[in-house]
Symmetry: C2
Subunit: 189 residues, 2 copies
């Protein structure tokens, strides 16, 4: 077993994603993950509560990152402008996680209990964005609709970004494309 | 125990909603529901697989109703127009279910496992609407974004329609108000 190394968390994440793809999420054990990462089970449990948390960190980095980004956006902008400005900080943050995100997404799509967790995560993210807008003085209905619109733009862009058959396109370009398409679709409603 | 009556399903639904509100969903049994409705447990199981199905019918009447409505809309309209036309058939179908919907919503909001089920139901509805649009020849991205927009309009309007402190407003009026607000929010994004 390896000694502690600075990238233990990353190695565990990598090993877990490989094994979930090979054996399926349900059949993979923490023991398997630790062995593949050449670390101990104890090290695993220093970083994650259980094997689901590898895919859904309790700290919710996406939600926390977007909320922090919203708080950096100067006041006085329109609600969806504010959220789009926050979303545009993501491509930098996610740039080197595309392959991990692609693998993670395939595992979630193949496992119903994880799909439910993913829906709950997106609902929590949408609620958090609507709350941030309300705290900036936006009324309830536009806050909710701007948050749902931003979530739809993010989800469609992210899905294309990690599509296995997609020629690589930048996430930032895909976000702008989804927003433009949403504006077209909604204006014609 | 009462004999079979034409409204057995409605009485069971009513009794279940009362008991879920009084005892909580988890603590209510099928026996309790049958007793309150003055029917037998056997009658309950002729109408519902289990106590969750009272709140989430396997047949998904909302999704089936909307898909059927989309298929009635003449071709050649814009994607979100098509879905809004389908949504506007709902107020008639739901008119006398407002109080039931209000109670159901309070129970779902109080029970995490039911909230997850509700998210899955809405995701399935959104997917079904996007699929209908694709079958009408709409490309994938606008189909997905129109379906997500329609779902957001429906959800915000429905939430206001059943809000306990809301002065009664027609669901049709609330749908139009949500669409107008969405158009305003998205155009300014």
């Amino acid at each position: 077993m390896g000694r502690w190394k600075p990238d233990a968390r990353g190695r565990l994440e990598q090993a877990a994603l490989e094994l979930y793809a090979e054996l399926g999420f349900e059949r993979t054990t923490v023991k398997d993950i630790a062995r593949r990462a050449e670390l101990t089970e104890r090290t695993f449990f220093r970083h994650f509560t259980d094997k689901r948390e590898v895919l859904f960190p309790a700290s919710q980095p996406l939600e926390a990152g977007l909320v922090a980004a919203v708080r950096e956006i100067p006041a006085g902008q329109e609600p969806l402008e504010t959220l789009m400005a926050a979303l545009r900080t993501l491509p930098g943050a996610l740039a080197d996680r595309r392959e991990l995100a692609r693998r993670r997404s395939a595992i979630v799509a193949a496992t119903p209990v994880l799909q439910e967790r993913e829906l709950a995560k997106m609902a929590s993210l949408t609620d958090a964005l609507a709350r941030e807008l309300r705290e900036r003085g936006v009324a309830e209905l536009p806050a909710q609709l701007a948050a749902e619109s931003a979530a739809a733009v993010f989800r469609t862009a992210f899905t294309r970004w990690i599509a296995p058959d997609e020629a690589p396109a930048e996430l930032g370009v895909l976000l702008d494309r989804s927003l433009a398409e949403l504006q077209h679709v909604v204006a014609a409603g």
